[in-house]
């Protein structure tokens, strides 16, 4: 056993919540409300975790908020939908507990922690209406959060996300969706920035952080990386060794430690190995190194995984010179969901419905056993001047030059193919075939635009098929894409229905809990869809916090 009890603890509490995403913060709240003294430690310089960089969508079937917007649902329908999503790769006991608890957990955050949820009208389940039990209106998001409520913590939280402007879902839809982003009301959004009114993930985490550090006065330390779990002679986790200001910082958690440190997107080696990819980049802040797996391994914690090919691994790019906290930030390419844009592989061929990432993720990774290659890696994003006149590429608005390091430009498809190093004959044939259907808003080959989720999220509602439009107007553009993680990884610590981490010998490790992405996604199985990650983080955080509080 590598751990050692220090001669002196720097801080003694009952519960150490490691990380400040939804999982850890909810555990901290529930443990505090169960009478425990809690401390929150985060490696990053700000509180809120990756949750504060995300869309803040929380998938909660049959909630009271759905009823408020007049939508019908049932637990039975939800059960069928989760069974469909899981693809049989889930662990039934964990799924049962998740389904039995998520509503209670989310209502707790509203009633006891003041989180102002509302149902997003018109946002459908990914597979609606095809999948059994699917519905519309199950997504929750928060009302705008006023950052000044955070007092001294205002500057030590993630006030904005590079991935989402400070609009609400309702506004985003009313303004024509992401495809229409150039025509959004930027006067209003400028005002939101100036007044620190937060929406999406930053808004959601504003409420959670306020409930913890302002309302409950839970002690929190940023810039404090937990490096080691400390166990007693019986193998019970009784605290942590963290590093703060370059020095050891020993914190005792007499009742236990909750690991909610997210995944390993910024541990390239670990990510490439576990996600079976030749390269790895990330849309997340640079604080996710798989520390839970390392610290867990040191005390015999078991790990588990769900299939890699169906997780949220996107493809995208880095805008030259764009960084966060010193690391390049990658953006997932939602452009491929807009009309006048497609993906091709090196053979110049399309291989997927680009508008639906659940379709492209497994296909892009497809292994060709005859040639020992991944034929669709790397994918290339292709668009034409129809696209450029209407939609941005990242932060490059229509009318702006796109730097050559990012996008190659050419007057003909053949020239573009040559510049990108893809097969020109294949590419010309692909365009001809695609354009034939696209002229009538159809995609006979891959059925792009089939899902209403894609229509709403990335499509242009002014088109007959919001996700399809011809690619024919010169000049043409091409971007070579790279894999981009969004922090939702396939491997995590194996946990039980009380959110306790299991030892490789099968028993629960006393005093150790894992929540959020740090806990393997066996509750969902093969079924990630947007909002399920935040929902399970809240739920397992709630379960862990209550278990620690003796309930």
């Amino acid at each position: 056993m590598s751990s050692r009890i220090p001669a002196r603890w720097d801080l003694e509490v009952d519960v150490v919540a490691v990380g400040s995403g939804l999982g850890s913060i909810t555990a901290a709240l529930a443990a505090h409300d169960g009478g425990k003294r809690v401390v929150i430690l985060d490696k990053a310089p700000r509180l809120g975790g990756l949750c504060a960089y995300g869309g803040g969508e929380v998938f909660v079937p049959n909630s009271r908020y759905m009823a408020k917007i007049g939508k019908q649902d049932s637990d039975e329908a939800a059960r069928r939908y989760f069974a469909f999503l899981s693809g049989g790769f889930n662990e039934p006991g964990l799924t049962e507990k998740l389904l039995a608890t998520y509503r209670e957990a989310v209502e707790y955050t509203a009633d006891q922690a003041g989180v102002r949820w509302e149902a997003v009208d018109g946002l459908d389940d990914y597979y609606y209406p095809d999948a059994p039990g699917s519905a519309t209106g199950r997504y929750l998001a928060v009302e705008p959060f006023d950052g000044s409520q955070l007092g001294d913590w205002q500057s030590k939280t993630w006030a904005s996300s590079p991935h989402f402007p400070p609009a609400t879902h309702k506004e985003m839809y009313a303004w024509g969706g992401l495809a229409n982003i150039t025509k959004w009301d930027y006067e209003l959004l400028g005002q939101r920035v100036a007044e620190d009114q937060r929406t999406f993930g930053p808004g959601m985490m504003g409420y959670f952080v306020k409930a913890a550090v302002v309302d409950r006065k839970i002690e929190a330390h940023v810039g404090t990386a937990v490096r080691e779990l400390i166990t007693d002679d019986d193998g019970r986790v009784v605290g942590v060794r963290a590093e703060k200001d370059g020095k050891d910082f020993f914190v005792r958690g007499a009742s236990g430690v909750v690991l909610g440190v997210g995944g390993y997107d910024h541990n390239k080696k670990m990510a490439m190995m576990h996600e079976e990819a030749h390269d790895w980049n990330s849309a997340t802040q640079p604080y996710f190194h798989g520390d839970h797996l390392v610290m867990g391994a040191e005390i015999g914690a078991d790990t588990a995984s769900v299939p890699t090919y169906n997780l949220a691994m996107f493809y995208g790019y880095n805008i030259p010179g764009e960084e966060h906290d010193g690391a390049p930030i990658f953006r997932s390419s939602w452009e491929c969901g807009c009309p006048h844009a497609i993906w091709v592989n090196e053979a110049g061929e399309r291989f997927t419905d680009e508008s639906f990432y659940k379709d492209y993720q497994p296909r892009v990774r497809q292994w060709n056993g005859r040639t020992q290659t991944q034929d669709n890696v790397p994918p290339f994003l292709i668009f034409d001047t129809n696209y450029r006149e209407r939609y941005p590429l990242g932060s490059f608005m229509p009318g702006m030059d796109i730097p050559e390091e990012l996008a190659v430009k050419a007057d003909t498809p053949r020239e573009l193919a040559e510049k990108l190093g893809i097969d020109a004959d294949g590419f010309e044939k692909t365009l001809a075939r695609f354009n034939e259907g696209a002229r009538d808003g159809r995609d006979p080959e891959f059925d792009a635009g089939h899902f209403s989720w894609s229509n709403r999220l990335a499509g242009d509602p002014s088109y007959p098929n919001p996700n399809v439009g011809v690619v024919e107007k010169p000049p043409f553009y091409g971007v070579k894409l790279s894999p981009v993680g969004v922090g939702i990884n396939s491997h995590g610590l194996r946990t039980n229905a009380d959110a306790q981490v299991l030892h490789v010998r099968g028993h629960a490790i006393p005093g150790l809990y894992a929540v959020g992405i740090s806990a393997a996604l066996l509750d969902l199985g093969n079924g990630y869809q947007s909002g399920t990650s935040n929902m399970r983080a809240i739920t397992w955080g709630y379960v862990a916090g209550r278990h620690l509080g003796g309930r």
Binding site: Q154, Y186, E187, L189, E322
Partner: protein
């Protein structure tokens, strides 16, 4: 449009400040987020800076064209973004002690003193900027003035900058860059004066 201004007072005469300011190479590295600059001629240069925009850091390339060298009192210049839609203008105004007002130096109207909230926001972003630039300490509270001992003041350097982000997102970007500009203006005016004093 985001406008900022910072005034720093100095114990050195106006001529010493002018001697320093008139040579771009002297103070270019003091600009917040400075990466590099290249002079094409006396009036034209291109610059690369790293600047914060919300939670990300962007690399900004832009052209500077000096429209007036009116030493020892004034240098005015214009900016134009190369990789971002942005235009702007700025002035370094130098004055002797006591004649700071009514000298016609400020072609840019000084912005009204912002309310508490705006100051708070500035302080927040100041934290971010220093983090990005590797300066982990935050500076003393913001007062838009950096002062030498009252009796010793012999001159004043005022730096004013006005930036207009273009494109559809302009109004939002505007709100995002403003707090970083406040810090940048303060740093530049203060650091120039500090260097002139140190070299005196």
């Amino acid at each position: 449009m985001a406008e900022v201004q910072h005034t720093a007072t100095s114990t050195q005469p106006i001529e010493s400040i002018w001697e320093f300011v008139k040579e771009i190479d002297n103070w270019a590295p003091m600009v917040t987020g400075y990466q590099e600059h290249e002079k094409q001629n006396e009036n034209d240069s291109t610059w690369v800076l790293k600047g914060d925009l919300g939670s990300v850091t962007r690399t900004l390339k832009f052209k500077v064209h000096v429209t007036e060298w009116a030493g020892p009192e004034r240098v005015t210049f214009e900016l134009e973004g190369i990789n971002e839609l942005m235009t702007g203008k700025g002035v370094f105004s130098m004055s002797g002690a006591g004649d700071g007002d009514g000298d016609g130096l400020s072609e840019i109207t000084p912005p009204a003193r912002p309310g508490f909230f705006a100051r708070l926001r500035d302080a927040i972003v100041r934290f971010f900027v220093y983090k990005v630039m590797g300066r982990h300490e935050s500076r003393p509270p913001e007062d838009r003035q950096t002062s030498a001992e009252p009796g010793a003041v012999r001159s004043e350097l005022r730096f004013s900058l006005e930036i207009s982000p273009g494109g559809p997102m302009g109004p939002m970007i505007n709100a995002m860059v403003k707090p970083a500009l406040v810090v940048a203006a303060e740093d530049l005016a203060r650091d120039i004066v500090a260097r002139v004093e140190a070299e005196a």
